[in-house]
């Protein structure tokens, strides 16, 4: 390689390192960008670990989402956060992980949730964890409750002469298997788990929104509310549009005028795009197949 080529490449390498350093420094010490922005983070779809959702049509990747929330919370360039939520819930455990990230964020700066269409069950739990909750007047929200459902295909299998041969090491190891119905004892175990998750769910919302637990439980029987009803009942703070949520977040952060926003979105892989193409049918079919084949317990909010 010629000397002049080496020098040229060396200059480019130097620029690469300098850009890396400059970017990192300016992200931490925003001297060039004194105007703070409102981060808008989308949480659209079913709450769950993407890798475990075969044929998932639209799901919230917990790792990416919590990363985005914490990143916005830690950034000195961000003055407030708006969570743009459109979710009917999903895995209870994953929901709580996202709730923890939202709580972390609100300990650092104002967080406002906005529900445009559906913020139900786990979606509502996340929304309610913010400092303020703005809902569209006709959005569906609430659905506070826990559900665990199992497929009992024993009648179907018997009809076609199919029998399961199960070898197990523990009494409850095949609990939830589609080859037989749950026993009363097993139903009680699942009910206990659901009750515990429900308590966490309700107490979490009550704490975040400073509500009386007993009152909240009257609203937490799985019923769904329209946005304007939710405001009257104290489940949300106001009705409005996304811009109202952004303006509210900005004013809570002490910003004047219309705040500038920066969009934080999950990165979509090719697999995500293909999964989306699989559509609702694929999702429903996949869930059914997964349940029948796994025979496991899933607790959903």
């Amino acid at each position: 390689m010629e000397n002049k080529t080496k020098v040229g490449l060396l200059i480019l390498a130097g620029m690469f390192l300098a850009s890396l350093l400059a970017g990192a420094l300016l992200k931490s010490y925003p001297v060039v960008l004194p105007v703070k922005k409102v981060a808008v983070i989308e949480l659209h779809g079913t709450i769950g670990d993407v890798s475990s959702l075969f044929f998932a049509s639209n799901s919230i990747d917990v790792e990416q989402t919590t990363g985005l929330i914490r990143s916005a919370a830690d950034s000195p360039l961000i003055g407030a956060i708006v969570l743009d939520i459109n979710s009917e819930g999903g895995s209870a455990s994953v929901t709580q992980t996202v709730v923890d990230a939202v709580r972390y964020a609100r300990s650092k700066k104002p967080v406002v949730s906005y529900v445009s269409d559906v913020g139900a069950s786990g979606g509502y739990w996340i929304a309610a964890s913010a400092n303020k909750l703005v809902v569209a007047p006709l959005a569906l929200t609430g659905s506070i409750g826990v559900i665990s459902d199992f497929v009992d295909a024993s009648g179907f299998l018997a009809k076609y002469g199919i029998s399961f041969q199960t070898v197990k090491t523990g009494k409850y190891k095949d609990m939830g298997s589609p080859s037989r119905p749950l026993t009363d004892e097993e139903k009680k175990i699942v009910q206990d788990i659901s009750d515990q998750v429900y308590e966490e769910f309700v107490n979490g919302i009550a704490e975040s929104r400073s509500m009386d637990v007993a009152y909240l439980k009257t609203l937490a029987q799985g019923q769904v509310f329209l946005g304007k009803q939710a405001v009257k009942l104290g489940l949300a703070d106001s009705t409005g549009a996304k811009d109202d949520a952004i303006n509210l977040a900005g004013s809570m952060a002490g910003m004047t005028g219309t705040p500038e926003t920066v969009q934080f979105a999950q990165k979509k892989s090719l697999q995500d795009v293909l999964n989306q193409l699989a559509g609702t049918f694929g999702y429903a079919f996949g869930q059914g197949v997964a349940r029948v084949s796994s025979g496991g317990i899933s607790v959903s909010t």
Partner: protein, 132 residues
């Protein structure tokens, strides 16, 4: 010997190669470091303009050739065919960092001449170069 002016096509190829290299050297690390905040026109614009001018000016001054020019075998020289000064190199490099300015600067090239306005201003020309 009278040096052959570099063709418009080769000058465009050289520019595209340099732009790709600069994008990788500046844009990519910035996006790595800034992550979700890589939307600042002020930051990215300032760094890109400054680094691009430094890159073109220094290499034109030191060797008469950026990496793009080396690849397509063309070279910047003074009006008398000699090595250019750093000031000359800087003057002819400024417009390259701004696409609209570069377009206006390149009107003579587009019209079939063999220079940009900034070449005239700096007293430089770009020639075919087969040597090392």
């Amino acid at each position: 010997m009278h040096a052959q002016p570099a063709s418009f096509r080769k000058r465009i190829y050289a520019y595209i190669i340099d732009q790709l290299l600069l994008s990788f050297a500046i844009g990519y690390p910035l996006s790595l470091a800034m992550g979700d905040f890589f939307d600042s026109a002020i930051l990215t614009g300032t760094l890109t303009v400054a680094f691009s001018i430094i890159y073109w000016a220094y290499l034109d001054f030191a060797f008469g050739q950026s990496l793009g020019k080396q690849a397509v075998r063309i070279r910047t020289v003074g009006a008398a065919g000699l090595k250019i000064s750093l000031l000359q190199a800087a003057v002819r490099s400024v417009s390259k960092a701004f696409i609209v300015l570069l377009f206006l600067d390149s009107v003579p090239l587009i019209l079939g001449r063999d220079f940009r306005f900034s070449d005239r201003l700096a007293g430089t020309k770009v020639i075919e170069w087969e040597g090392r």
